[in-house]
Structure formats: C-alpha cells, structure tokens
C-alpha cells in the first residue's frame, strides 16, 4: 500500500536512504544537501537503520570512505553539493574505475566565485566525464524513486558504476510537496542484497585495487570501463520497467512532452521542465506547434533517443543551467552532436538560464519558443533572465 505524504526533495532522499538501509554512509554537511545527512542521522540515532554512519571531516574523506567501503562489499550512499562535489573530484574517476557502486544524492548548487548557495548545474556538469552515471530529477518523487532504482543499477554485475541522482538545490531540495512512498518491505525486496564482485574484505581471496598501470595497460583498463557504461542503458530499462510494475511510475531516459507533431522543441533538464511544459500548453492554445524534451539521463547520454525525437523539427532550443565558458554549454553541445546523427540540419539555439539560482519563469520558456517561431536563430549563446 502506497503511503502519501508531504516532504521535501532532501527529506525524500533521506527517506529513501532509510528504506534502502545502506551498510555505510559517509557524509559531510554542505548547503543545500545538509538536510540529507542530518535527517539520516536522526534515523541512525533512533535505531531505524543498521547503517554505520561515518561523519567524516571533509567531502574528500566522505567519498574516499565511500569508495573504500563500497569495494569492501558494503552498500554505500552519500550526499553533497557544489564545493563539496568539487572537493571530491579527485576521487570520482577512481571510484568509477574501481567499479565501486555508490548511490550519491547530489543536490545541485553553483560553484563560486562569487559564493552562492543556490541552484545551477555547474557542480555536477564539471563531473560529467568522471565515469559516473548521471540522472537529473524534476521533482522530489523522482529523487526518491531514482535513488531506489539507483541501487539496483549501480550494483548490477554488468554495470558496477557509481551513480549521481541530481536534484535542483532549494528548488527541489527544500520544496515541500506530496510524494508517494513505497513500503519498507517493498523497497527491501526491490533492491535485494548486494553481491559484490571482488570484495576487499574477502581475506581468503585477496586482490589489490589501484595498481600503477602505465602505457602498457592503462588504455585497456579504461576501455573496460567504457564497456560498463555502455551496459547501463540495458540495465536501466530492465530496472525502470520493474519499478514501473511496482509503482506505476515510468521513467524513460528522455521525457518527450507533446513533441510528436511539434515543429519547435525546447530541450531542458531538472526542475525547470515544468515551466517549459506550461509554456508549451500556453503556446499550443495559441496555435503554435511546440514541445518539450526533458533529458533525464545525462550519462550515458541517450543521443540516439534524442536524435530520433528531434528528427525533422524546424528548430531546437537547448536550455542549460550551466556554462562551459569558452565553448558551448554542456547539454547544448551534446544535443547538437546528437542532431548530426538525425541526418537533417536542424537550426538550434543555445540558452543559458538560472545560474546561481536565478529564477526561471514560464515567460522565459516562452521567449525561447517565440525566438524559434519568429525564425530568430544564431550560433551565439543566449541568456534568459539576465540583465544587460
């Protein structure tokens, strides 16, 4: 029986963690993800979980302890944001390379300077090539659901990779809204037990992790890791289908909203999607054929699905909550790359919005659509919600 309640994105993440009951959580507080370890600490204090909570002295140690616990054979989770994520950077590719499944609740926040506590995707986008799976959530329900699915995906024998479950700082993390929770037993059955591949704690079959591999082997080891990421898609489909059967909630890797007959499509991720959908409905009521494409899975990047959905459109606007200063914004360049494979030249506009938590309104989304409808395309990056 589903249980409905009002909760925030952060508390939803903490509740998922309570039900997942990981063996080890090593975490360090940073706004806006702090609620997650805080709430989880209450569960530990009240004896509601069996977890060994390691309250480390830095994010660098948090991810290091998570990696070590994960390859030891434990089920491991953590949370962080912004500078915390940046401090962990060194360890992210190592965790992926050691094939350490870690389920990471990442609460997106801008990276300074200037220092700012609000949302943009500059923290997680800086980690996009570190070998982790990236899922971007629109609301608290999706955060909760993705963390539970994340355990299964990350720990699958064909994958064994860490996963970021991203949500927008404050916008999603601190907004209280209705959520449907699974029963504890349902979560327990869905995720099952972890069956580690080469647990470090197996002292009878010792192995070494983290050798020095130079010109002779490094390339081959990386190629293996690439293969693991290629396997994610198949596993994701299986797990999300099973989750759909359990909950009735479906999470395709991309969410196409009224794109089928659309002439113009806006591509976006995370919490701002709702405003784009509102704009779609409003403009459709005025007779414009527009649609919205939300990218939920950013790594592995579902370029084929995107190319297929955007094929034959008259124009595409890609909205990024991050910049790649000196080059195209991250989502934009990926989508543009995918479009090349759709076989038609579709004019594209790149919009950057919402840096440092700058609010994104329905009228901002409308602006992006109206530019396309008016035939206003150019290669230059554009900005929504910015004062000139």
């Amino acid at each position: 029986m589903a249980r409905k309640d009002i909760t925030s994105g952060n508390w939803a993440a903490a509740e998922a963690m309570r039900q997942i009951n990981p063996d080890v959580v090593a975490a360090y507080p940073i706004t806006p993800s702090t609620d997650i370890p805080m709430k989880f600490s209450e569960f530990v204090a009240d004896g509601l979980v069996d977890t060994n909570l390691v309250t480390v002295e830095s994010e660098h140690s948090a991810i290091s302890a998570c990696l070590a616990a994960s390859i030891s054979g434990a089920r491991v989770m953590t949370a962080s944001s912004a500078n915390g994520v940046a401090l962990m950077h060194e360890i992210f590719p190592i965790a992926a390379s050691y094939r350490a499944p870690i389920v990471f609740a990442l609460v997106n926040r801008s990276i300074g300077a200037p220092i700012n506590i609000h949302c943009d995707h500059s923290d997680s986008m800086a980690e996009r090539d570190m070998g982790w799976i990236h899922l971007y959530c629109e609301d608290a329900q999706e955060v909760y659901d993705s963390l539970i699915m994340g355990v299964r995906i990350a720990e699958h024998k064909d994958v064994l990779l860490p996963v970021f479950v991203c949500q927008d700082g404050f916008i999603t993390s601190h907004c209280f809204e209705p959520i449907e929770f699974l029963e504890d037993e349902e979560v327990k059955n869905f995720i099952g037990e972890r069956d580690p591949l080469f647990p470090l704690l197996d002292v009878d079959n010792p192995v070494a992790y983290g050798s020095l591999a130079l010109t002779d082997y490094y390339f081959e080891i990386k190629r293996q890791q690439i293969e693991a990421m290629k396997n994610v898609r198949k596993v994701y489909e299986e797990v999300s289908e099973e989750f759909f059967k359990l909950t009735g909630r479906k999470y395709p890797v991309i969410e196409a909203y009224k794109t089928e007959d659309a002439e113009y499509v806006a591509v976006i991720m995370s919490s701002a999607t709702g405003a784009v959908k509102e704009a779609v409905d409003k403009l459709r009521a005025e007779g414009h054929k527009v649609g919205c494409l939300r990218v939920r899975m950013f790594r592995p990047f579902p370029w084929q699905d995107i190319a297929e959905t955007l094929k034959g459109k008259k124009g595409i606007a890609v909205l990024d909550r991050a910049v790649s200063i000196g080059a195209g914004a991250p989502l934009f360049t990926e989508v543009k790359g995918a479009l090349y494979d759709s076989g038609t030249l579709v004019p594209t506009n790149s919009y950057v919005y919402g840096l440092g938590g700058r609010d994104f309104f329905v009228h901002d989304a409308e602006k992006a659509f109206m530019d396309m409808i008016n035939g206003d395309f150019s290669p230059e990056e554009r900005y929504l919600g910015l004062r000139e």
């Binding site: 390859i71 591949l197 010792p206 192995v207 992790y209 983290g210 081959e220 190629r223 293996q224 293969e227």
Partner: protein, 95 residues
C-alpha cells in the same frame, strides 16, 4: 610476455595476490652476497633486515642461503652480519 587485450583483464583494476613473485628482481644485482655456512651462527639478522626477503631460512630457524632470483645486491645482509659470514662479490666473478 604477450600483453592482454581489454576483454581478458579482470575488471575494476584488480590484480590477484602475490603475482609479483614472478618478477625476477635479482636481475638488478651488480654485487652478490655469498654466504659462508661455516661462519654463520644463524642469528637471523641478515634474514630479518633484508628488504627483499632474499635470505632463505628453514623451519628450524636456520639460514640456508641466498635467493638470487630476488636479491638486488644491496649488501645490508653483509653489513649486519656479526660474524662476516656474508661477503659481497662482483657479479662479474660469476659470469
């Protein structure tokens, strides 16, 4: 040795235990410790101080010789020997 392709490597960078025992570090040696059994009092100082575990000893706690497959020829064993039972001699003497 033929290097393996990516499909033939164990995942996650792991390497099974003790594979380094195949590595003949004795090839690094330019001087060689030569053990004189008649002088040895089996105090095991050479055995315990060898950085490369190259002094052989048996279950009775007696030194039985030098393992030249691993010995890098550092000379620590000769230096710590209280009875001068180990002599360092150039490898060229043995070619």
């Amino acid at each position: 040795m033929k290097l393996k392709g990516w499909k033939d490597l164990p995942p996650a960078t792991v390497v099974p235990a003790a594979t380094a025992e195949q590595v003949e570090t004795g090839q690094w040696r330019s001087i060689r410790p030569v053990w004189d059994e008649s002088k040895c009092i089996h105090c095991l100082q050479c055995w315990i101080q060898c950085p490369d575990r190259s002094i052989k000893a048996n279950e009775e706690g007696k030194v039985t010789g030098v393992d030249y497959f691993y010995c890098k020829g550092c000379g620590v064993c000769a230096k710590v020997c209280p009875k001068d039972a180990i002599e360092m001699r150039p490898e060229s003497d043995f070619i």
